[in-house]
Structures are given as C-alpha cells and as structure tokens.
C-alpha cells in the first residue's frame, strides 16, 4: 500500500560544524526534488522525524543539505549520526518562496540564527539567475561571531555584484567589525525601495515579530513581507493539525506566509 508517510532513503555523506550548536548535514543522493522554502520531514531510522527546510540550492542535482541546530531529541540523534549512515526524507511540503514575484525587484533578506538555513536555499536560487533581480540584500544577525553560520561562504557571496551583505551580533568580540545589537539594528538603514521590494524574514519567532513590527512601521506593505512561520509540522499534508496557526496550516498553506495572510490571527508569533 502506498502511503503518504513513506520516506525516500539516502545517506549522510558529510557533516560541517557551522557553530557550536549548528551543523550542516549533506545527504547524497538527493532524496527528493524541492523548491526553496519548501520543507521536508527528515527521519532517523527508529528514532523519529522532524521538519526542516533544506539549505542547499534547489538546482543542485547531486546532494541535499540541511542546516540544523541541536535542540531536542531528534536533532540530538541526528548529531550522533556518522557519515555513511542512512536517513529518510519525505516531502517536499508547503509552498516555496514565490521567486517569480521578486523578479525585477530588490530582494531584502533578513535572517536570524539558524533561520539563515532556508534563506541560504533562497539566496542560492536567486543567484542562479541573478540578472532576474535588481539587487539582493542580506541582513543577518547571530548571538555572537561564533554563532554565525556559513562563515566559509559569506566572503565569497559578498564579492558578487548585486549582492550586499551586512551582519550584526548580539554580543560582539574585540575582532568583530560589524554591528552589535539585535537584528533590528540592521534595519536602521533601509537600502531598498519601501513600496516596491520583497522582504523575506526567517529566524526565531521573537525576531520575526520585532522585524515585522519594524518593517510595518517603516511602511513596507504587508503583501511584500514574507515570513517563515514554521511550527510543529508533523504530517506535512494538512491533516494532523499540529502546525496550525489560526485556520491556516504551516505545512500546506505555508510555511512562508505574507504578513497580509496572517495579520488577522491574534499574536501569530508564538
């Protein structure tokens, strides 16, 4: 019997330590096709599964990567895996970032912590056809310079024409050159058109809440603010009800919603 819960099996090929608590897991062969912003259920055999959004490019046909923070039972089991171990992936679920709507516009990406992971998938998708977009801005905040992920890629990305990256940390160190403060300090200077750019936000709920508040105060239209409202997605198919935000389901209606789609829900950022 074909069931919606069957996984595609693949192998963990390598692991990159991004920060003391965050690792990128590289899986080969690529177990499923997906588009940036869609998520998948990643499972450790005999332990369970949890929802993660891939951080690799949708155009990469060889492998699939997930950047994951160790926070609980399943992620601890993932951190104990060794290269060569088998994992399962089912999906993709949810709606991808509507990149076609970003065409010809400035794209303003705001990320916090491990929330940079899905944004990397988006960024790699955007730079694949970079001429389609006016310019791409990344504003990324982490707790400390050590907690910044994708350190090995950021200098390379910064060199690209039409890409502008700025970072902040909550707590700086002597060597830190960027801004210090929560990610909203990066919104003190807005380099994009307020009325005609696309803003994509992903990070911890509290960060999304304050970034959204600030963006709305600055006058960004709610229809141009794309928020990653990831919650406890379990079935991925809009049935089990765990991920519901009001009458919407993160798993099938999201996980990316515009502010206009969710603004009627009382306090969605919890």
């Amino acid at each position: 019997m074909k069931t919606p819960y069957e996984v595609n099996t693949t192998k963990l090929i390598s692991v990159v330590d991004e920060s003391p608590t965050i690792r990128t897991f590289r899986l080969e062969p690529k177990p499923i096709e997906f588009k940036a912003g869609q998520f998948a259920e990643l499972s450790v055999p005999g332990v369970g599964e949890a929802p993660f959004t891939p951080s690799s490019s949708q155009y990469d046909n060889e492998k699939m990567e997930f950047t994951i923070m160790k926070v609980g039972r399943l992620t601890s089991a993932l951190f104990n895996l060794k290269p060569g171990d088998t994992v399962g992936v089912r999906g993709p679920y949810g709606k991808p970032y509507p990149v076609e709507k970003f065409k010809g516009k400035e794209v303003f990406i705001v990320g916090g912590g491990v929330g940079f992971a899905p944004l990397r998938a988006l960024f790699l998708t955007l730079i694949h056809k970079i001429d389609d977009y006016k310019k791409i801005y990344i504003r990324y905040g982490a707790r400390t310079p050590d907690d910044i992920i994708y350190k090995q890629f950021i200098p390379e990305w910064s060199k690209l024409d039409k890409v502008d990256i700025k970072m902040s940390v909550d707590v700086g160190t002597k060597d830190w050159q960027g801004k210090v403060g929560v990610v909203t300090v990066l919104l003190d200077e807005i380099p994009v058109s307020i009325t005609d750019s696309s803003v994509i936000v992903c990070g911890p709920p509290i960060m999304i809440k304050f970034v959204t508040k600030k963006l709305l105060e600055l006058g960004f239209p709610g229809s141009n603010i794309y928020l990653s409202m990831e919650s406890n997605m379990s079935c991925g198919i809009g049935q089990c009800n765990h991920c519901r935000i009001g009458e919407l389901y993160s798993c099938k209606d999201g996980p990316v919603f515009t502010w206009d789609q969710i603004k009627h829900i009382k306090d969605p950022f919890i």
Binding site: M1, G46, G48, Q239, C240, N241, R244
Partner: protein
C-alpha cells in the same frame, strides 16, 4: 431511495447473514460490539447514540502507517456498522473533508470508507447530553448512510439509500415488505416526538447564537467552568469529529499513527521547547475555535455534531452547551467568562 418494512423476526437473521462476509458491528448495552455468526442476541437500538464514536472504524486509535525503507502491506476487511446516528454521520463528513477531499488522500481512510457499509438508525429518545438540534441537525437521516432503519411496532422501516446498501441487502431483500401508510405515519410520529424531546432538553440553550460564541477575542474564560479542566483529553478522544493525530517511530522502524488531542500540553510544542499554547485556557480556546471557527472556514462545516459525548466523558463536568451559551452571552456583553 427505496422504502420497505422489515419484520422484527427477520432482523437478527439479516444481521447474522451479514457476518458471513463482513465484520459486523452494532450496539449492545450502550457500547459498540462486534457481532459474529454465533451471536446469541441481535444488536439493539437503545434510543440514542453509543458511548463510543464511529471514528475508529475509519482511523484506528493506533496503527502502523509506514515502514522505514520498505513497503507496507495492509489488508482492510469489509465492515458493516449498524446503528449509526445522525451525529455520527455528520462527523464523518468532517473526516471526509480532511482525509478524502484534502490535497492528500489518506489511503487507509479511503479504503476503509469504501469497504464500509453504514446502517443508520433514528434516535428515538435523545438523552440530556444531546444537542444536535442546536447544531442544526435532526435526530435522524435519510441520506447520509447506505441504509436507514426506523424502529416501529413489530419491525423496522428500511430506507435503502445507496447502491452499496442495496448490494448489502442482497438475498435478504426477499424479507422486505412494502411499508404501508400506517408504518410511515408511525415513523413521522416517532420523529416528531424525538424532535420535540430534543427541543425540551435544550430549551434553555435554544437562543445560542454560535456566531456570537465564535467571537474568540472574548474567550478568555478565566473564571468559568473550563477552568475545572484536568487536561485528561477524554472530551477530544471521544469526540466523533476530532481527527488530530501524532506520528512517531518505533525502534522497530515502524511509523505509528495515534490519535492526539490539542489539550495535551506538548501538542503544539516545537523542538527546543517553545510552546505556542502553554496555558490550558489557550488550548481550550483553540479547541473551540477549531470546532466553531476554523472548521467552518476551511470545510464549511462545524466540527461539532451535538452528540454530547464530551459532556458525558468529562470528569470535571464541563458542559459544552453551557460553555457555548456562556460565551455567546459574554460576547454580547463584551465580558470575559
């Protein structure tokens, strides 16, 4: 639809014939029981619904739904449910919306639904927890099952509603007689009486305006009876429309699906421990919003059929009718309950 009369003495042989090719379930002493060929007594229609809802016939309380890295073999046998009430049939509509008409069809639900024939029965004596009338339903149905029975003197009026129902009767159709005017008048009178009784039972709630109760901004419920909730989740497990489920993996690499309930504190908790509804009153509000606001928005149906099982099942004596009525009044007066 064809309407007949089945004499009392033919009912039990009819049920026993069904057991030859189907798993047959019916009502006995208020509970659902399996009837086998060697059964000594026929199912009874005890005036109102059974204690258990019908949902486990279509979605098991616990079942294997996948195996890691290998296909799943599963056989689903044909079944007949005798004695479904209007509230049970209405609940199935909610299930159909979720498991058949959503973006992804649940293969287990689909196959069970296809292999199940439902024989419904009129409610003759609604009990004090019943409130299907408030939910806009009548205590009988002549279109949502495959066959409907109405108990009358010396037998039953039988409506054969679907082709599946017709096939189920098969050879037993020889036992059916024409329903005469007297039989039909008896049915009309019984239905009128049941409706009248329901009206009496719920007379103090007849003015509940559900759309008022749905003004969830006012659903803070800091001092009303929901505060007595002990979070046992009996109301949700026994609810015929509640369909939430949890997936987990056994160490044997089998993926299990079990019923879940939104009153459990960990229900919406995410990895790392953040919880959107840590407080029981938040979860209470979520349950009511799910039934009376989100389900109508998503499925054009209330996810409550007025069966009253949650009232019977609640050890804290929380009465959904009373709470709805309090909410509606509070909403009108802009108060917290």
């Amino acid at each position: 639809m064809e309407t007949y009369f089945l004499p009392e003495e033919r009912f039990f042989p009819f049920v026993l014939r069904l057991t030859e090719e189907n798993d047959v379930f019916g009502q006995s002493k208020r509970h659902i029981r399996k009837f086998r060929l060697e059964a000594k007594e026929p199912p009874v229609f005890d005036g109102f619904r059974t204690v258990e809802p019908m949902k486990h016939f279509f979605m098991r309380a616990k079942e294997i739904v996948a195996k890691f890295g290998e296909p799943l073999d599963k056989e689903i046998s044909p079944q007949v449910i005798i004695g479904a009430r209007r509230c049970d049939l209405q609940a199935l509509k909610v299930y159909d919306k979720v498991f058949l008409e959503g973006e992804v069809v649940d293969p287990f639900y689909k196959e069970r639904r296809e292999k199940t024939t439902i024989i419904s029965v009129d409610c003759e004596e609604p009990t004090e927890t019943c409130f299907c009338n408030i939910m806009g339903l009548e205590p009988w149905s002549d279109k949502d099952s495959d066959i409907n029975f109405t108990p009358i003197k010396k037998g039953y009026i039988v409506d054969i509603i679907t082709e599946k129902g017709n096939l189920l009767f098969g050879n037993s159709k020889d036992w059916l007689q024409t329903a005469d005017e007297n039989d039909l008048n008896q049915r009309a009178e019984k239905r009128r009486k049941a409706t009248e009784l329901l009206g009496k039972i719920n007379s103090e709630y007849s003015n509940i305006k559900l759309e008022k109760a749905l003004e969830t901004e006012n659903m803070k419920a800091r001092k009303g009876e929901p505060m007595n909730c002990v979070e046992c989740c009996a109301c949700l497990m026994i609810c015929p429309t509640c369909y939430c489920y949890l997936l987990y993996d056994e160490p044997t690499k089998e993926k299990m699906r079990v019923w879940d309930a939104c009153y459990y504190p960990a229900y919406a908790r995410v990895g790392g421990g953040a919880n959107p509804r840590p407080d029981v009153m938040e979860r209470f509000k979520n349950r009511f919003a799910c039934k009376f606001e989100y389900s109508p928005k998503n499925h054009n149906l209330f996810a409550c059929t007025g069966c009253g099982r949650c009232i019977s099942g609640c050890m804290a004596k929380i009465d959904i009718k009373r709470v709805l009525s309090q909410l509606a009044n509070a909403a009108s007066q802009k108060e917290e309950i």
